[in-house]
Every structure is written in C-alpha cells, then in structure tokens.
Amino acid sequence: MKKIINAPADVVTDALRGMAAAHPDRLRVHLEPDFVTRVDAPVSDKVAVVSGGGSGHEPLHVGFVGSGMLDAAVPGAVFTSPTPDAVQAAVREVDGGAGTLLVVKNYTGDVLNFETAAELAEAEDIGVRTVVVQDDVAVRDSTNTAGRRGVGGTVLLEKIVGAAAARGHDLASCHEIAERVSAGVRSMGMALTAPTVPHVGEPSFELADYEMEIGVGIHAEPGRERVELESADRIVRRLLEPILEDLPFREGDEVLLFTNSMGGTPPTELYLAHGVAERFLAERGVRVTRRLVGPYITSLEMQGMSFTLLKLDDELRQLWDAPVSTPALTW
C-alpha cells in the first residue's frame, strides 16, 4: 500500500487535524466524536444543513462546509458510515433554531445511523428532516437491492439546498427543494483502477490492465459490467446513455452537467471527457447551461470518473448560482 500516512487507523483523525490547520478561518474541527462545522455556527434562524458518511470521498462532505452549503459534516471511518452520536453532536452544535436538514446517501449503514441520529435529535426538540440521495443508475432499483446508491447528485443537492437555507427558506421548503433535486438527478460512474482502503492495505478489487469497471460505486462497489478499455468517446456514451434512458432528459430540457473525477483521474482526462459529453448532449438537444468539472466526490485514489445530470428549473438554477464559500467550492 502506497500512501502518505502514519497509522492506518488514525488516517481520518490525522486528516481532520490537517484540515483544521489549513482552514482556521472557515472550519471548526471537533474530535471524538469527529465532525466539522462552519466557524460561525450556529447561524440563528437559518435551517442547518448537515451531511456525512464514510471518509474517503473528499472533498465530500467536509470540504463543503461553509456559507451557502453545509453547516456541518460528519465523517465516518474510511468507507464506513459515521455513528449516530457523532451526527447528533454535530446537529446540536449547528442547529440555529430553524431545524436541521440531514442529507444522507442511500447506503444501509448511512440510512440506519442517520435514522437513529434523527431520533436522538428529535428527542432534544430539534426539528429534523431527512433527504436520502439515490441517484446512481448503475444499480437497478428493485426490491432485490438495497436501492440506488447516493453518488454525484449529493454534491449538487448539498450546494442547492445550502443556498436555499442561506436565503431563509424554512425547513419544509428546504426539504421540498432537496426532494426536487433528488427526483431530477441521475449519475453513473466508471473505474480504471481500484482504491486501497488504508486499514485493508490491498486494492478493493482486481482489474486487469486492459479492463475497466462500468457502473462502479464510490466505495469501489462493482458495477454493471467489466469490459475492455475503450476510447473516451465510447466511455462517455456508456455512462450517459443509461442516465438519459432512466430519467427522460428530453430535447429542450435545461440541465446541469457535473463531470466528476473519482480521485486519480487528472484534469486533462476529465475536461476531455467533459467536452465529449457536451457534444453528445448537444446532439440530443439537451441544453447544458451549468457545469461542474473536478474531483468532488471521490473514492480515495481510484482512477475513473462519473457524470451527473440534474434537470434545472429557474429556482434550482438561481440556487446553484448563489454564492458559496467552502474549502472545495467557492463562487
């Protein structure tokens, strides 16, 4: 295992210490239980937006803490949902009296732990609503699975609902907007290489030199199929077609296109794929009016990428454009 770390068990805490040192003006980092809040939390009378999940997907979620996005993020161990007490402590710290919206990615562990946290917070008279993101079209949504995974759509949802909260929307309205984003967002990813979880020490899967995994998850969960490496043109098509099939993004629709690196894929390849995707969508009459390109939801050092498409309306576009100031996303 090749990593710049000390003891594998301390990776998350050590990284949080570094984040605290790097962003003293923006973040407050709490240890045991681990969570990160914006430095000026709680913001009175604003709905607090709190998310979290296993570590290893940075900048998600810790890098999105700040004005216009998350009030707190709760990182678990690598690829492991955080525990309810940590989420509860974060909520307690950032709730400004207007209630808290929990943004949860749809994995059994996250759902169960956040569910308990919500109960604990409600027992303390904090108003809590939860949105579960489940945008990964690689997983067929049926009773035979734990349901679709929450992936790239989470980033867009956190930005948009963060803006809504900053604008003074109440908890019900923030929740409605979050559900709207969730309903209109779809993603699909692929991997060229496997990540290595520090406490495992071995790559999460084996992939031959000529192979790629289509439909991979952000915890290196296997995807729809393992196929031979192909050109960027074909890879882009393999990812976008299932997205377009699943949610009818139709001719004339206005969308946000999010081209995401899984961590190890560098900007050159990512922009290249983004360009191909824009042409592909333009040919189908889908109007891309907003874009995000970069490594925003990753799987440690995994090489690969994902696309996320979000259907925009005037309100969602305005909320997307609204100012945001966090370590990883600022405008």
Binding site: A9, P33, G54, G76, A77, V78, F79, T80, S81, P82, T83, P84, D85, A86, Y107, T108, G109, L112, N113, E115, T116, A138, V139, R140, T143, N144, T145, A146, R149, V197, H199, V200, E202, S204, F205, G217, H219, A220, E221, P222
Partner: protein, 211 residues
C-alpha cells in the same frame, strides 16, 4: 445454572478476542462482496466495548448487554453498527434487571435481538445477510431452552445453527446491504455479517461451556 453479569462479561471479552483474531478474514469476506471494512468495524467496536468494561463492570446481564449495545452503536458505524447495536439493545431490554439469565431468558433475549435486526434492516431470510445466521440460531436456542437446556447448551445450539446458517449464505444472491449491488456476482461468497454472528455465538458458547 444460569448466567450472571460476570459470565456475560467474560463472553463479551471472548467475543472481542475472536473479532480481533478474525479481523482480516472478515475484511477479506467484505472485500469480496462489500467494501472491505467489516472486520475493521467489528474489531473497532469490540475493542471499544472492552475499553468500557475496563472502566466499570455493569452489575447485571442486562446492563452488560446495554453497555455493549451503546458502545457498538457509537463506535462501529456502517450497517453492522446499528444492526448489532439494536440486537444487543433489544436483548438488554428483554433481560431487564434480572441478576442472571437461565436458558429460557437467554433464548428470549436472543429472540428480541433478532427481531430488532429484522425490524431495522428489513431483511428477509435468504437475502444473504446476518439474518441468515441469526434466525436459525434463535430457533435452535428456543428449542434447546424449551427442552430445559442450560445457558451453555442453549448457546451452543445457537452457535451450531448460526454456523450452518452462515454457510448457507454462500450460494445466495444478496438482496440487502452493499453486496446486493453485485447482483448475481454476489453468489459464491460467504456473507461477512453472517460469519460475524457465527463467530460471536461460538465465542459466547465457548465461555459458557467452560464455566
């Protein structure tokens, strides 16, 4: 004979040793069809439990089970944290304030724990989860207790059934948890959570048997 707080504590400590000894095996199982953290999760959780027990030993079986539950909930995370946590929490409720548990009380606690896992995780038999080890285990425990079995006999019946149940997950296609994303590719692998259940019950039975 029935088991006291001291014995439950010994059983839990033995469980922690077993989780630590099998950490890498459980990681490997989870790496094959999940995300590779199950061994680390269980080991971290039971190490935290042992650390809590160093601070103070609860006076009743129910209090021990409750300490295990809350510690697992606040230190494991993932899917297994809330599920094992709920199991121990429900078991603790059922055990109540009793000074000791006989075979019947033990089986009842186990039943409550298993029902809790089903209620939280909504898995059904043959979904390839820990349920597939837990359900046969509780049935075997109830049967043994029904025949007047002592705690040791009850637990070893449960452990044997859990072992068989865990092995039965190998050919199954997962329908719950992370392994379900694999679809057909999940067949041919032992479910890590079911394996943990079998290991833990065997460890508990071990200690009871030795008393």
């Amino acid at each position: 004979m029935s088991c006291t707080a001291r014995e439950v504590i010994a059983a839990v400590r033995r469980g922690a040793e077993v989780m630590s000894a099998h950490r890498d095996e459980l990681v490997e199982l989870d790496r094959a069809i999940g995300d590779g953290d199950h061994g680390e999760n269980m080991d971290r959780g039971f190490r935290a439990v042992v650390a809590q027990l160093e601070l103070a030993e609860p006076p009743t079986p129910g209090a021990v089970l409750k300490l295990v539950a809350t510690t697992l909930i606040s230190s494991v995370g993932g899917a297994s944290g809330p599920l094992f946590g709920t199991a121990f929490l429900r078991a603790a409720s059922t055990a109540g304030d009793a000074e000791s548990l006989d075979g019947t009380a033990l089986a009842a606690s186990l039943r409550a724990g298993v029902d809790g896992v089903v209620a939280r995780g909504k898995a059904e038999p043959e979904d390839k989860t820990m349920i597939d080890a837990l359900l046969p285990a509780v049935r075997a425990a109830e049967e043994s207790a029904g025949r007047g079995g002592e705690p040791a006999a009850t637990l070893s019946a449960a452990a044997e059934a859990a072992e068989v149940g865990a092995r039965s997950t190998v050919p199954l296609v997962a329908r719950k948890g992370r392994a379900s994303y694999l679809g057909d590719r999940s067949a041919g692998h032992l479910d890590p959570g079911a394996r943990s259940v079998a290991l833990l019950l065997a460890a508990f039975a071990d200690v009871e048997g030795a008393e």
